[in-house]
Symmetry: C2
Subunit: 311 residues, 2 copies
């Protein structure tokens, strides 16, 4: 019997588990819905960093050292753009530019971001479905001590350094989830929150239209994997943000973000002692190794997730 | 006493003489007006091949082997675009893409092609003025035995192979010459037709609005350099086109294109015996070496042209 899974993912961390799941599930049994609150226009080109990271990872073309961008990348166009006086703090590689050029062209031709993502995925040899959370424009804004910053401005240009005070999702309420997202919500047996930043990667997905309500009433099992392990974020600013929001970074506090939206919370072995506290939030807790370094790690965690769905 | 020159140029051949002139004249004494009938949109990006060739040549960044494109170019984006299924017969390099990305972005922001060209030229360190023939849309269409072809389609994709029957300039009559072009026509002491294809590079410039009329009444000296030397085109399809139009390729027949628009026709030493025939068209003839291989050749021809203006 096959199990149909909807995975919600942000960038690098989410893409790792999505890759593991894609190695275990047939294409019709996995939909990866990706955050697009981080999308940005650079030099007139529509860049979807999280969609690209998931696509590049699932196609096997991702740069293994960074987790984002493409292998064997060069930066000759960016160097020229810099010489032309463009603001080039966002590191677009030459190969990567082709993705943004294609996306921008297809969007200008009237195609939806879902259609563009499908076309690019197929061209990259990806059989599984990758869908943007929405075809509408949603932008994650980080309110900081130096003023509101668009996500990439905060994340890349300012290296997450300014103290954040709150996060908002411009356009979220007016947006509609993409058709692929809606269908996966309606037909999947399980929903998996990949280990992505709950504030910056998962929250924007939940803030699209009535998605939070749909997830609340999702009939299958909802499983979250903590991106906080041993009080540290495996990658990115999740722990720093928690501190700035006055929260002690821990997997318990990630779980609190998902109360009413999650049935099973997966924590790392090192956090085993926090299981009781999470169970008190009304979730079943599963403990396993959640740190994914090798491809085997990604497949192993994917297998555990599929087991948890079954069990 | 300084001599102010307006040079009309297409791509590689024209750029060579424009470079020579730029090495001899101060920035305020040279305006290079460039054909934009070859402009094309590739992958949603506005490409201006002749403007780029002139800019790259004057900045010293042009690929010395081809005369077009940039030195040390890579083609990683194009390879990816091909993998995405894009039609990539037009060879856009990675560095070159930066030019098209900047141009497209600035045009989308409402800047004119003249403003974009000025900004890119300055960023490339070019002090002399390079102006598009027009800020409006003009497209050179080659009518051929296989139907009408947009210029790049004819020139690059079909390698000028289909037999041409006529050439037209879509939008030419409605277009207005750029402000830089008009100013140069009004204030220059001399006008130079660089050795570019008379049908495909110079004709589109003359077909913009009332330019042909303005050139007819240009008060200074008008000098043309023949792109046909010894019955051969130095580069490109000029001689082939002449044959297809039923004309024996020769510098005399180039001169015939400029009757009423040219005072002094410059031919190569090898064509000295054709001087009389050209004089019979009502032009003074000057003979010198016109084949430009080295940078010195370009400066030498530039110097001869300046002498002819004075003499």
């Amino acid at each position: 019997m096959s199990t149909k899974i909807l995975a919600l993912a942000g960038g690098v961390g989410g893409a790792k588990l999505a890759l593991g799941l894609s190695k275990l599930l047939s294409p019709e049994d996995l939909t990866v819905v990706v955050n697009t609150g981080d999308d940005e226009e650079f030099h007139g080109l529509h860049v979807s960093p999280d969609l690209d990271t998931v696509m590049y990872t699932l196609s096997g073309l991702a740069n293994p050292e960074t987790g984002w961008g493409l292998q064997g990348e060069t930066f000759n166009a960016l160097e020229r753009l810099t010489a032309y006086g463009a603001d080039t703090w966002f590191g677009l590689g030459d190969k990567d530019l082709a993705t943004h050029i294609m996306r921008t062209m297809m969007l200008a031709q009237g195609k939806s971001l879902s259609e563009v993502t499908l076309a690019l995925s197929r061209a990259l040899g990806i059989a599984h479905e990758i869908a943007p959370m929405t075809d509408d424009r949603v932008r994650t804004i980080v309110e900081t001590e130096i003023g509101p910053l668009a996500f990439q401005d905060y994340f890349v240009k300012h290296r997450c350094e300014p103290k954040a005070t709150s996060i908002s999702f411009d356009g979220g309420a007016q947006a509609e989830p993409s058709a692929g997202f809606v269908q996966a919500l309606e037909t999947s047996d399980a929903m998996v929150y990949c280990p992505s930043n709950p504030y910056l990667s998962v929250a924007p997905i939940l803030e699209v239209g009535d998605v939070r309500e749909k997830v609340r009433h999702f009939p299958g099992i909802r499983i979250a994997v903590s991106p906080i392990v041993g009080g540290q974020a495996l990658k990115g600013p999740a722990a720093k943000l928690m501190q700035e929001f006055g929260i002690e970074p821990s997997c318990v506090d990630v779980a609190k973000q998902y109360v009413g939206l999650c049935d099973c919370f997966v924590i790392d072995e090192v956090d085993r002692n926090q299981a009781k506290e999470i169970e008190a939030l009304g979730m079943r807790v599963e403990v396993c190794n959640t740190v994914m370094v090798t491809e085997d790690d990604k497949i192993d965690l994917g297998r555990r997730i599929i087991d948890f769905v079954a069990g």
